[in-house]
């Protein structure tokens, strides 16, 4: 018997859905299809954003702007940031893995609102195409992903308006997704499954979705006001008309600081799923992990002005936001040590998924340390708007979130396709990415400390060598996608057959076939109360009581 959804109705609805590869282009309401739609769509945008990054790094190999005109450089930079954040990381760490995994984790057959889910996904490709096409039609926006006024009101209007529209769409999609995750996690749990028994990714997605619901609408409202300033010539954020540009910054960062957690909290959750499986140990400190996530959610809402220490912020505000920001290091540190403790003494398989996860831990802790440094006003006023900030957030966003996305693809690819990825190519991919990434971004700390401003196409010649070093790193990163792309395409057809549960994992998505049937389980949903119950010798396991039919069979 199924739970909550009447089977007869549902099967009928499913038969109307196309099957085969065509369903990935359809308005499918199957959460697994939608998850993969998010993933592939996001990855395509990642490749486009990567090309733009390549253009930036080529321009910066020489101190003068010789590769492209300055206004084109600004457009490329704006598109790069916007695409990477709103079309790659946010949709993939939330939409892709969230949709694929959350219904499994709560023991449901689909998300709470399948149709809303499909709507949320299908808002993304048009918004992305609109954003990119603005480059060809009118010239793209030039004011960076932050769109600070007065810059955004004085640069050409058409591109900026298209930028606003597409970000509004993407924000709407994100809000719909967030509502769906909250409802699914809180309301769709299989009977008998308690909140504190959920896999950690559920908690991460719950926290993230709360942030999405509370903060994204503020960005939407702000952008509406900004578009009034551009189109109707009001003066909300225009100082020359009596308006206040700093209010824009406050409202923008009220969304965009939480947004950095929207990009990284789900990654925390994914790593917490991957590590125990490959270390054969329970996740260390489950309860502290949960409380840390919730603490980050609360604190993450009250630290935004650390982006504005040079915007004439009054002293009390500087003090408050420095202290609040420094506090975030506590729950973040707890999570960091919990991952280390999970690795400690485990039977670690150093496969690609684990390598990328460990790469994440290293990069993230480094980005976290520079973050705490940036939160200190006396330091920040020197390096604000320099390459130091660029280095900081790439350590977090790329070294953190993107590394986790790759780890997750290596971990869940067998689930998605029923085939294994090639491990040798995976390790090569990791090596190139890790070396390339650090070569690209570590030197940028130095650039920032010595005063090279960000968002410029031309710079003081003394910085040329370090910039070239950074560009070599970027080249390595570009090359690193080749083995990965080859691997995912080739393994889809020729990869070793994975079996249902190649990692002998205990979380519910593995207790079914790979790829899973339309309704996730052919029988009833398993009740997994200990998703991290590893480390029990196989002969002490009560096999009669396990419902996942392939549980442990591969390992025995």
């Amino acid at each position: 018997m199924t739970i909550a959804i009447p089977p007869s109705d549902n099967q009928h609805a499913e038969r109307l859905q196309p099957t085969g590869w065509l369903r990935y282009f359809s308005f499918s309401v199957d959460h697994k299809v939608i998850g993969l739609q998010y993933l592939v769509c996001g990855f395509i945008f990642y490749l486009i954003g990567g090309l733009l990054a390549g253009a930036i790094r080529i321009e910066l190999t020489s101190p003068i702007s010789d590769f492209m005109p300055r206004d084109v450089y600004n457009q490329v930079l704006t598109l790069h940031g916007t695409i990477m954040i709103f079309l790659w990381i946010v949709p993939v760490v939330n939409g892709a893995f969230g949709n694929y995994l959350i219904p499994f984790y709560v023991g449901a057959r689909d998300m709470a609102f399948p149709r809303l889910n499909a709507v949320a996904f299908w808002m993304i490709p048009p918004a992305g195409l609109m954003l990119i096409s603005s480059y060809f039609i009118t010239g793209a926006a030039q004011s960076g992903w932050t769109a600070y006024p007065p810059l955004s009101i004085t640069t050409p209007a058409a591109g900026q308006i298209i930028w606003i529209l597409s970000v509004l769409f993407l924000g709407g999609s994100s809000i719909f997704g967030g509502i769906n995750f909250i409802a699914t996690i809180l309301k769709m749990r299989r009977p008998g499954l308690k909140l504190m028994q959920l896999p950690m990714y559920c908690w991460a997605m719950l926290g993230t979705s709360i942030l999405v619901v509370l903060s994204t609408p503020v960005l939407a409202g702000t952008l509406i006001l900004l578009s009034f300033d551009i189109v109707a010539h009001t003066g909300f954020f225009n100082p020359s008309m009596g308006g206040n540009a700093v209010v824009y910054q406050h409202l923008f960062w009220f969304y965009s600081h939480p947004a950095v957690y929207i990009m990284v909290l789900p990654a925390f959750g994914l790593v917490s799923e991957i590590l125990p499986v490959h270390c054969r140990k329970p996740l260390f400190g489950y309860v502290t992990m949960v409380y840390s996530i919730m603490a980050i959610v609360v604190l993450g809402l009250v630290v935004w002005a650390h982006h504005m220490f040079t915007s004439g912020t009054p002293p009390w505000m500087r003090l408050f936001f420095t202290i609040a920001t420094s506090f975030i290091a506590v729950p973040t540190g707890i999570k960091f040590f919990n991952w280390l403790a999970t690795l400690w003494g485990g039977r670690i398989t150093l496969n690609s998924a684990v390598l990328f996860s460990c790469g994440f831990i290293l990069n993230f802790v480094f980005g976290g340390i520079t973050g705490v440094a940036l939160a200190q006003v006396p330091f920040d006023i020197h390096v604000h708007d320099t390459y130091f900030v660029v280095a900081h957030f790439h350590y977090i966003v790329y070294g953190g979130s993107v590394f986790v996305i790759f780890a997750s693809i290596y971990h869940w690819y067998p689930k998605f396709t029923g085939r294994m990825l090639n491990e040798d190519l995976g390790r090569l991919h990791f090596l190139l990415t890790f070396v390339g990434f650090n070569l690209c971004f570590a030197p940028q700390h130095w650039l920032g400390l010595y005063g090279m401003p960000r968002r410029v196409a031309e710079y003081d010649p003394q910085f040329a060598f370090v910039n070239q070093l950074s560009s070599v790193g970027a080249l390595l990163m570009a090359i690193s996608t080749l083995p990965f792309l080859f691997n995912v395409v080739q393994s889809a057809f020729k990869g070793r057959i994975a079996g249902d549960n190649p990692w002998n994992a205990l979380t519910p998505e593995w207790l079914t076939s790979s790829p899973p049937p339309v309704e996730n389980w052919t029988g009833e949903a398993p009740l997994v109360t200990e998703p991290y119950g590893y480390g029990v010798p196989a002969d002490q396991l009560d096999l009669a009581a396990t419902s996942g039919r392939d549980l442990w069979t591969n390992g025995q």
Binding site: T2, F113, G178, P217, L527
Partner: protein
């Protein structure tokens, strides 16, 4: 130690309840959405209050609000919340005709609110782009007016659907009415806050 246990056979009862379960989620989803929507207003209010605190009006700027009309508007919306509540109660008691009458009255009150707001807009001595406060006033009240418009349309749709006897809205399927009602209360609540912040402070 066992890690997984098979689920007991789902009882027949849980299957028959499935439809109702689903309804619960929709109201929950709507409530979550309204939290998000409320945050948009919170952003606007925060912006307005900051403007008030740090951006004095330029010397020649005109920004004066009259109280009588918006006070009437407040009363209109508050009464309409009560009439909508009556409609919901009537539906629960399966008194379809009474329910429809209350729905129409509610929609009428909403439309009266919009009309009176239009009157206010046209009699105010300042326009959208005149100064910072004027722009904020029009943006916030306009955004709220948009919500009232949508709400009134929703009420009329619900009314239309509840007219046909075998129609979609009965005492067994109250979701459309309940959803519109929750939304309407939300819009009214926002207005009260708006009234206090924009007119009284």
């Amino acid at each position: 130690m066992t890690t997984t246990t098979p689920i007991e056979q789902g009882s027949e009862e849980s299957l028959t309840n499935a439809d109702e379960h689903h309804q619960d989620h929709r109201m929950f989803g709507l409530a979550t959405f309204l939290v998000a929507d409320g945050m948009t207003f919170a952003g606007f209010f925060a912006a307005y209050l900051t403007f008030r605190a740090v951006n004095p009006l330029m010397p020649d700027a005109i920004y004066e609000l009259e109280l009588p009309l918006p006070t009437i508007n407040t009363v209109l919306l508050l009464v309409s919340s009560a009439t909508f509540h009556r409609a919901g109660q009537a539906l629960k008691r399966s008194e379809s005709a009474r329910c429809q009458r209350w729905l129409l009255i509610t929609a009428g009150l909403g439309i009266a609110f919009l009309a009176s707001q239009m009157v206010e807009y046209f009699t105010l001595p300042f326009g959208l782009t005149d100064n910072l406060y004027a722009s904020t006033f029009y943006a916030v009240t306009g955004f709220h007016g948009l919500h009232v418009t949508l709400g009134a349309i929703m009420i009329l749709i619900v009314w239309w659907q509840s007219r046909s006897p075998g129609g979609r809205i009965t005492s067994h399927n109250q979701f459309p009415l309940e959803a519109a009602e929750l939304y309407w209360h939300f819009v009214d609540g926002i207005w009260v806050i708006l009234f206090i912040i924009l007119y009284l402070l």
